[in-house]
Symmetry: C2
Subunit: 381 residues, 2 copies
Amino acid sequence: MTASPPRLLTPGPTPLPPEVLAALGQPIIHHRTPQFQAVLQEVADGLKGVFRTSWPVYLLAGSGTAAMEAAVANLCSRGDDALVLRAGKFGERWGELCAAYGVRVIPLDAPWGRVPSPAQVQQALRDHPSVKGVFATLCETSTGVVEDIRGYAQVVQATPAVLVVDAISGLGAEPLETEAWGVDVVVAGSQKALMLPPGLAFITASPKAWGLIERSTSPRYYLSLPLAKKVWDKEQDTPFTPAITLIVALAAALRVIRQEGLDQILERHRKNAEAIRHAAQAMGLALYAEPSCCSRAVTAVAVPPGVDGKKLVKAMRDQHGITIAGGQSELAGKIFRIASMGHIQPDDIRAAIAALERVLGDLGWTFPTGAGSKALAEVLV
Amino acid sequence: MTASPPRLLTPGPTPLPPEVLAALGQPIIHHRTPQFQAVLQEVADGLKGVFRTSWPVYLLAGSGTAAMEAAVANLCSRGDDALVLRAGKFGERWGELCAAYGVRVIPLDAPWGRVPSPAQVQQALRDHPSVKGVFATLCETSTGVVEDIRGYAQVVQATPAVLVVDAISGLGAEPLETEAWGVDVVVAGSQKALMLPPGLAFITASPKAWGLIERSTSPRYYLSLPLAKKVWDKEQDTPFTPAITLIVALAAALRVIRQEGLDQILERHRKNAEAIRHAAQAMGLALYAEPSCCSRAVTAVAVPPGVDGKKLVKAMRDQHGITIAGGQSELAGKIFRIASMGHIQPDDIRAAIAALERVLGDLGWTFPTGAGSKALAEVLV
């Protein structure tokens, strides 16, 4: 084990800022009190700023998948058609969720490492005018790509369908102008760029989406948006016991975000991800995602020939205290992923690249000594 | 505001022990690591001890209602019949959940403050042999009653139906011998006698229940038990990002429970609730629940004539720093509730009764000076 502090560079959970840790360690307060009501109001306002919308953002105690399921169950009924963009594991999850609710999945697949184009979405909607919802992924963390949500919104807006975006890994890391771009439903989770532990999920919906929500016949209770709306409209409260501690910590995280400024945060993410890509390439490594759609939130790097990808991730963690992510499902052992979202700092990235240089060397991959750190320093001045 | 430390005597959330607070304030760890796997194994073992079963206890990131919905969605299909015991708000919730899934609700109602008898359950099952599930509530926090789960289990066991128990408020406070009594499904939540913040829920199921779970046609994904079982059996993991921080804190809470011992904890709850009842009666107050079914977890007290129940709860909190709960729904303003579960200590109860004496006096209720504290001291020696 290393003597340096452990560092987390995974695409969820991400490191917690001191303000969030302090909030988590506070004695708990009751949720039906003026004290907690004030916190709920604060996060309601703050979330609208981050979601870039004037619509209410509903809170769910659950992980991001709970909010994805809330989108499917509230928008779709058995027998409906859904266009599902699948560019990785999380796009596939949209398909699995739709199938679980008896919704017919019309897949629009991209080779992993790439994303579907708006023109493909447009063509698919022409071919299938029955489609009620188009399900996309802002940042597909399994492959490190970012989808063209703005482009999709332009074509979906012109149809009766709604555009639903899994922004779990992207919100607060990638640009997403929910209302201005014409996105209908956005779901997100706490443990990514919002810098919180997992266990809190979010969903917001456009007036167009509410038209579908009011007509859905899918069973739902805990994830019911009409119920959440009714309770919020009537008493600015949640229908079920909220994840109090996480919501108090969310207020702290939103203050951290407000202080830095969302535009500055997005630019920091852009630069950090660029620096990681530059460093990886300088070490002779290939990026997994196409250059045109590399995410700011997480960078997927191909494991070089002759190197054991699982050993690489393990050595980073056990010998250097740096937790990065391996590949998931069919990408296990083939890629590794370095996150750059939320509270991940340039120092974390420097430590990760320095450790990566040593681990790659130990595992037999040769490159000019210090090339990664040198390239990193050129971007992260 | 009072200068004394604020005290929480609500039936969820309950106060957090220092061990739990310390765990919550730790830097977060990644969930796909040997470090977190060890935590998961520890809580898997510990939960079996508290749930009094050898079956796996599955973890859900969500509040207790999520686990209730998991029970309904995994056991029942549209058109099934369910016998729903309704002795308060949470019994009614079982009915609402069943209705949301198209399950026909056969209600077995008890007047609030009382509970259905095992003989009534037996008769209802004879009248409705089609019933697949009997839905009960260990501790009905809305009225302060405890149901006769052992008695229900005896009659349900002799039928093809399964007995499903909402033990959200009761687990770790009331005796519940899941496997020995023949209970089929138990759901629980984190923010009650388990001494954690809300946001983590639990469910365990008997082999008899698994027969139904495998045949259910209700839509489910996030709350799917077959999926949770598959992932647990294969890799001792959760299908979706777990509520890492709460699970790490759960390990700490389970150590606190193990150290005191479950039997000792149940006895402490019994005594604390008895003391609260004794004190309330000495102040001339009437208990809301029938003497035969008073819960150890929470005591419901009738607001005396001429006293404003909402003002009482507010004065306790704002003038004395003591948070207790008012009545819910139709009981709003008519009862107040003092919890005695989890980490609530005799000192908290002493402070609550002392404050209650002053607040009742201020609101015009007369009783022998110090009668509540004196009665309390007779039990809590």
